[in-house]
Symmetry: C2
């Protein structure tokens, strides 16, 4: 099998083992006439460029095949299905009944009790008047309930988007000095966030949010949480002489700590749901009763009664701060979208239904556009609200309508009650909310499983903490992208060996029983061959060849004659890659070494064919499997010794 008998006698122990391996393969092949037959590597069926482009684009933009429901349907049904597609309420509306309503009413009221104090607090986090937080818990949930496809998403302002908006706008404009301009910018940013979100959905570019990996978000949110907590602590520490009230912080913390576990302990969910409202009520009553003795405590003060005033006249489309508004809109838009989609998917997975990412983006985008015209700021699906909603037994988005109704009642009649609510309790609510964003367990898991992911997490944490929110976010995305590029730029190359008694070839490092086949060097390239790695691969493969030659020499083994590249994991190749293969073949030929390819996938063999590289390699140079390559080449050596 490619070596003379008289040479076999000189083999040392190591090589005899290898020789036995090859004999075994040979015997097995003789037993198995079927497997010995060499299979031709086929080109995939010819497709036109247009067809290929169409297929590629549909894979990029319509991977979920959103129109499959419309196939083979009558015109009327298509209309109905289209209506249901645009407004999911028509899908579940007809089956809606009293039983569902009861569940939704309970959960709706429950999330309202969370939404009201959260709305007020988060608006403060964004440096906005507290009432804007309540407005934002009224219009957007109504719009979402018409358009959204998630059944459990609780819609409203969220901490992360609020704090990002607050910190980005406050860098340039001070709310205390220019409240009207600040408000205008906030609504304008919300408008652009909505436009950005809706157009991502409309253009089916939803995958851009996938680039905010979980690892970077963990770091980002923890960093943001630390910033906000420090900001709010100032407010808390400003009232140290009011000792009794300080107790509420550890109490709240201990209550809220259970929030994260609420998914697992549904019985306790009402604690986390009711705690903010309870503390607001208790503290408001306390301050009201002691109002003569506690005039040093900052309170919310007068809140205007009444519904959301229109704010479309406050949108700001030209002027020196337009760029700031757009930038803030983009950053808060993408962050809130990421949270909304992730939360929607989480609860959909729990109940085993699917959420259409692109449609959700449109729903969230439209609700923000509508919100920006009705005095609301950026809203999305909130994790805390959705968890409470889910645990309170929500069945459809009607729970959002119920919540909006409860907020409506509050706006119309109950606003004076919040006059004496102390700011400190809002600070406490904010701190407990954002401290929940610090997911050290996730960070620990990252450290254990994937060091590079942990590095991305750390970098985004410190980037947000020490530089700024958009820069931190930018760093986080850059690291994630860099990680992908690094994998492509420096791909693994494995040395494959035969697992005795089989036709299976595997990494000799991973499988100790896998043994190298004498005279062959079988390399598995674990990446597409691109411009970004073609030079590296060429030099690295030549280094493998050099090292193998040295190893063989040191062991007095049979000299290297053939290099087999296992192309199974080479999922794509570009023009630089094709040139590299050509170059490599020529360089190896000068060393009297043969280069063959095993198992190129469809589009790689297509490109090899188009670029005429195939002609140079010859059809003989490409095999279906490594096993067939070894068998065929060994037997050809035997035939011509």
């Amino acid at each position: 099998m490619g070596m003379n008998n008289n040479r076999v006698e000189h083999f040392d122990c190591h090589d005899q083992q290898q020789f036995q391996t090859i004999i075994k393969i040979q015997q097995q092949q003789q037993q198995l006439d079927i497997a010995m037959e060499i299979h031709k590597v086929e080109l995939p069926p010819q497709r036109t460029t247009l067809h290929k482009l169409q297929q590629r684009l549909s894979e990029i933009f319509f991977p979920d095949d959103p129109f499959y429901r419309f196939k083979n349907q009558s015109c009327f049904m298509k209309f109905i299905l289209g209506l249901q597609y645009l407004f999911p309420i028509f899908q579940w509306g007809p089956q809606y009944n009293f039983h569902l309503l009861r569940s939704d009413a309970i959960s709706g009221l429950t999330i309202a009790s969370l939404a009201i104090p959260q709305g007020i607090s988060y608006a403060k986090l964004a440096n906005l008047p507290p009432i804007v937080g309540l407005y934002s818990s009224f219009v957007p949930p109504l719009i979402y309930s018409l358009l959204g496809s998630s059944k459990h998403l609780g819609v409203g302002p969220v901490s992360i988007a609020s704090l990002v908006m607050g910190s980005m706008l406050s860098e340039t404009v001070s709310f205390t000095q220019e409240p009207i301009l600040y408000l205008k910018l906030a609504f304008t940013a919300t408008f652009f966030a909505g436009v950005f979100q809706a157009s991502l959905g409309l253009l089916r570019l939803g995958f851009v949010i996938d680039f905010l990996s979980k690892a970077t978000l963990v770091g980002f949110m923890a960093g943001a949480a630390v910033i906000v907590s420090l900001q709010q602590l100032k407010g808390l520490l400003g009232i140290v002489h009011f000792t009794t009230k300080m107790q509420i912080v550890p109490v709240l913390i201990s209550v809220f700590k259970q929030r994260d576990e609420s998914l697992k302990k549904p019985k306790l969910f009402w604690v986390s749901a009711a705690a903010p409202l309870t503390s607001v009520i208790v503290s408001t009553i306390l301050v009201f009763l002691l109002r003569n003795k506690t005039h040093k405590i900052a309170i919310i003060g007068n809140l205007p009664k009444g519904l959301n005033p229109p704010s479309s006249n406050m949108l700001y489309f030209n002027g020196p701060f337009l760029a700031l508004a757009i930038k803030t809109g983009l950053v808060t838009g993408i962050l809130s979208l990421t949270e909304g989609i992730a939360v929607g998917r989480t609860f959909a997975a729990l109940k085993n239904y699917q959420v259409d990412g692109n449609k959700e983006m449109m729903a969230i985008g439209l609700m923000n556009i509508a919100g920006s015209c009705s005095s609301c700021y950026v809203t999305t699906g909130s994790f805390s609200r959705s968890a409470v909603n889910y645990n309170a037994g929500a069945q459809t988005t009607v729970s959002n309508i119920i919540m909006a109704a409860a907020v409506l009642v509050t706006l119309l009649f109950l606003m004076p009650l919040f006059h004496y609510t102390p700011n400190v309790v809002l600070a406490a609510i904010i701190i407990t909310a954002v401290i929940g964003l610090i997911d050290y367990q996730a960070a620990f898991k990252l450290l254990k499983v994937d060091k590079l992911d942990f590095l991305a997490c750390l970098c985004s944490f410190f980037g947000v903490l020490f530089i700024s929110v958009p820069v931190g976010l930018g760093i986080a995305v850059a690291i994630s992208v860099f990680k992908i590029l690094l994998h492509v730029t420096r791909p693994n190359i494995l040395v494959l060996g035969n697992i005795p008694g089989t036709q299976i070839f595997h990494n000799v490092n991973q499988y100790k029983e896998a043994s190298r086949v004498p005279s062959f060097l079988i390399l598995g390239v674990e990446s597409p061959i691109y411009f970004a790695n073609s030079t590296y691969l060429q030099e690295r493969i030549l280094r493998w060849v050099r090292e193998e030659e040295e190893r063989v020499k040191a062991n007095n083994g049979s000299s290297l004659k053939c290099i087999i590249l296992d192309m199974t994991a080479v999922t794509a190749i570009d023009t630089s890659g094709l040139d590299t293969l050509c170059e490599l073949r020529k360089m190896l030929e000068k060393k009297l070494l043969k280069l063959v390819l095993a198992n190129p996938v469809g589009n790689v063999i297509e490109k090899l064919h188009q670029s005429k590289n195939l002609d140079e390699l010859g059809l003989k140079g490409i095999y279906l499997t490594v096993g067939e390559a070894v068998a065929d080449i060994s037997s050809s050596w035997k035939a011509q010794p």
Copy 2:
């Protein structure tokens, strides 16, 4: 085999075929007791984090293992080898002889005849005084001949870096109005280009130049060539009344056209090498003879005699234009580096020796730093010079020393001869040089082989043409990176089928004889599973399952029971990917479908193990090959019908 006998009778034709396939596999497995044995999937050997990090870093920064020569050597030999490593001249110096010198002298004088007119022209292209071009052909080649590892690289100013420097600096500073500032900025940009190049080499970050793919460079250079030609045409058209001289343009073009073919026709190389000098001499003599009648023709004018004056005092390290100088330095630095390394590698491959990329970067960087202190602007290995050098028979970098000596003689004694050289001939030399950069054949090949590469090429062409040089370059790199990301974000998923009579499973689209195995859906994922594609993969796999169920239903086939993911091409996985696999398994379990993995590679199985996903899947859920998975699961169904 997973289906009851009484059901077999109801199979239609299509399914009987499939059934026969499975029977065949079964028979074959029975024949082959060896192959039937199920192999355990093994974890790669345990390594510490430090060891893994070390290995990873050495793969990133030292893929060429530059220290392998030093292994097992005495201290003295290590010193000698180190000296040879730093100054390759010590490597070939001792063997240098008269025979080599003769070859080098001939080729050195030949490239000098090209270098002198090129130097003058390219300096004009960078809006610099012509004499700077000659200075740049003197010091840098001397430095390179000490440090460089390529034997054939002809060093000097190149068109692409010259025109980029000219266009970037001229946007802000005009040479005619502020010649001293312009000169200062040019030297400073050269200094930063050198620092950037040398540090890329020193930090072993050479791979960043790989991100300028050939496709984008083809487009970039063509765009740049068009810009320069249009600029220079102004100069040419300004002298239309001087008709006799115009003839030189088509002549030069026709002469230069052969330049690209010079590699293939060594006999003709002297035409291209001598043409520029000849035209300069002829035109200079003509203008000199007709000097009284042709005072309207712009001529070079007085050039100072003498060697490079020191220019380290002209480096500009603070002031309003520092950022411009740094930016220009980075862009010209990376462009000239790309050209230099690519040219070095091309000729090394022709003569079958290796060029060390990182060391070349240091050599080119140091020669530019030295150049910036001796009145030179950015230089690198030039394609035209190197081709002429190679064809003229250069053996070592001594040819660069000979060229520098010839330039030295020119600088010291011959400068007055260039007084009457008309600018128009320099414009013609520039145009012919840059027109050679338009490689329409390469663009056509891109169009044929890889549409996305062609798009990148087009975009960089139009970006440079209509926006600006750095923006065009940025677009080009962004598209190349986007292409990689797109491949990762939307990876292929293949449906695999069995090739009858074998254990081989292949894409059913590519191999018509491959047939699906009833009750199984075998999917090959062709990409690492990352945050950027984990959502897509999850939804796409669920769509495949849905479509397979519909297909099976339409054909009355045996119902789907098991999904096998072939992980051969999944070369890496991150924490998001691990979560996705878990999620997917749970979702499929709710549909009573089994999910197993086949052939996970080393680091994937390691991560599965670390994240405890492996425990959930169970060792039973992972197989070494698809064939073993099918065989084992089918027989388990048979055992428990």
